[in-house]
């Protein structure tokens, strides 16, 4: 488990370093969600739209979008493949994305097309903590994250 400030990222998951999506390998499937850092950055999520089951998505391309506080942004796939399940619960209760990032707040399950290549550049295991520390430090240094005493995402 990597814990930096209020952000905890389980190190058994795989993370897209730019988009802050996570991928969990489940036999021949990959469950996908948004990590704690990404959810905090967006703020309280009001609406999520996901591509339907059966739709093929390429790594790095949008499989849906979210809206939070009049912010709209794409949800980009950490691995490519076919969407085989979407989380209906998070569609009706988008706030799950903010409060239970890694369990009830999952987004889609993908049957990967090229898993080994797609996960090769994702942060995983011992890579997670240094990446997260560097990410947080960069944003703190640029004044892009509130200081410790003003945290709002815990």
């Amino acid at each position: 488990m990597a814990q930096v400030r209020e952000f905890h990222l389980p190190d058994h998951l795989f993370y897209d370093r730019k988009e802050h999506t996570w991928a969990r390998l489940e036999e021949d499937r990959v469950r996908v969600g948004l990590d704690a850092f990404g959810a905090c950055a967006a703020g309280m999520v009001a609406y999520i739209k996901l591509s339907p089951v059966g739709r093929r998505v390429e790594k790095g391309r949008a499989f849906g979008s979210l809206e939070a506080g009049k912010y709209v942004g794409p949800l980009k796939a950490p691995v490519g493949g076919a969407i085989v399940a979407i989380n209906q619960e998070v569609l009706t209760n988008p706030g799950l994305l903010n409060v239970d990032h890694y369990e009830k707040g999952w987004l889609v399950v993908i049957a990967p097309a090229n898993l080994a290549a797609d996960i090769a550049n994702l942060a995983h295991g011992p890579d997670v903590r240094p990446w997260l520390e560097a990410e947080v430090a960069e944003y703190e240094q640029k004044g892009m994250l509130k200081k410790d005493e003003e945290r709002q995402c815990e």
């Binding site: 506080g69 912010y71 994250l145």
Partner: protein, 358 residues
């Protein structure tokens, strides 16, 4: 950091949306951060990325008034736009803006607030994304991640046509429309309303660009669209007018938030079917407290003239079952109200539906 300024003046209404989208879609590593200042050459309606056209806009009215409707890639609700507003659009590389949406709004809204203040209007930022004068909103803002860019849009509000805005929205009843109209009057303001008249546009732009320079600590470099951006505008002009784009489905339920007048203030309508008839409640809520309420429907309420008194009694009540029940029960007892087939609990149930999805 470089910032290009596109001071484009009055542009075709379609391009008042497609230009900033195009700069974002065409952005590559060599594209400078860009601030565009534009106003549309004619009025139009603009719906949010996740909204559904038919559910938000009274299309028949818009057709009768020759008011076009566009969909943007930015979130939020349907808005009426015209040349009374100076659109301020930031198209920045994501890494040049804060990571958190809340902090992006702070960076964007600061120079707008300072501009209003320089004009003698005591504006302030009300997080998340409102600019207020007192408790009245003066312009809205929104953000979208598009391609490599983070886009932030807002406006300086010189004047605003409340009547057309209230008329063009699709609402569930005329009572609801009346409340929306009144709420916009009560909770919106403009430069003209605050100062009696709007100062010259160019003078305000000059103040704004000065405030932007101070806030961003950079010179703004006057510029123009590149060839690639211009071609992207043309492509987006076609896409933004296509029925497929405009009528795309989203599933965002329109009644989930009612009509948001400003952050924390909302007009909503709800119904409850009681054995004695349909109860319809139309209310303006501030932070889930009833500010104004109309009760209607086809149920019997005797004496009829007391219905209005009950509406007044429920003002300032929070949407909580216990609080509402206490007020309504007390009202029924003290006024010996009779409403066959409609219990106080039915009225509570109708009122609680106003909070659905909050």
């Amino acid at each position: 950091m470089r910032v290009r300024l596109l001071d484009l003046g009055i542009v075709p209404y379609l391009e008042s949306q497609t230009i900033y989208h195009a700069v974002a879609h065409a952005m590559d590593d060599a594209t400078p951060n860009t601030i565009a200042l534009v106003s549309p050459d004619r009025p139009y309606l603009c719906i949010g990325y996740h909204q559904e056209l038919d559910k938000e806009i009274d299309l028949e009215y818009c057709r009768s008034r020759d008011l076009p409707v566009l969909r943007r890639e930015v979130g939020g609700g349907a808005v009426y736009l015209d040349d009374g507003q100076l659109f301020v659009q930031w198209i920045f590389h994501r890494e040049n803006l804060p990571r958190r949406v809340e902090e992006i709004y702070r960076a964007f809204i600061g120079p707008l607030v300072e501009t209003y203040r320089a004009l003698g209007i005591e504006a302030h930022h009300r997080p998340l994304n409102d600019i207020l004068v007192g408790d009245r909103k003066i312009g809205g803002t929104g953000i979208a991640a598009i391609g490599q860019a983070m886009v932030v849009v807002g406006s300086l509000m010189f004047d605003f046509d409340i009547e057309t805005m209230a008329r063009a929205l699709r609402v569930s009843s005329e009572k609801m429309r009346d409340k929306v109209h009144q709420s916009l009057r009560d909770y919106m303001t403009t430069i003209k309303r605050e100062l009696g008249q709007a100062p010259p546009r160019e003078a305000v732009k000059s103040i704004l660009t000065g405030k932007l320079r101070e806030a961003l600590e950079v010179e703004l470099e006057p510029g123009h669209l590149t060839y690639t951006e211009r071609k992207t505008v043309e492509a987006l002009n076609r896409r933004f007018q296509s029925p497929r784009w405009l009528r795309r489905k989203s599933g965002l339920p329109p009644q989930r938030i009612g009509v948001l007048v400003r952050g924390g203030v909302r007009v909503s309508e709800a119904e409850h079917k009681a054995p004695g008839g349909l109860i319809r409640v139309t209310a303006r809520l501030q932070e889930n407290v009833i500010e104004d309420l109309t009760l209607s429907g086809d149920f019997v309420f005797h004496p009829q003239h007391l219905l209005e008194e009950l509406e007044v009694s429920l003002r300032d009540c929070r949407l909580s079952g216990d609080e509402l029940a206490a007020v309504i029960d007390d009202f029924y007892r003290s006024h010996q109200v009779q409403s066959p087939g409609v219990s106080s609990q039915d009225l509570v149930a109708a009122l609680l539906r106003l909070s659905d999805g909050v």
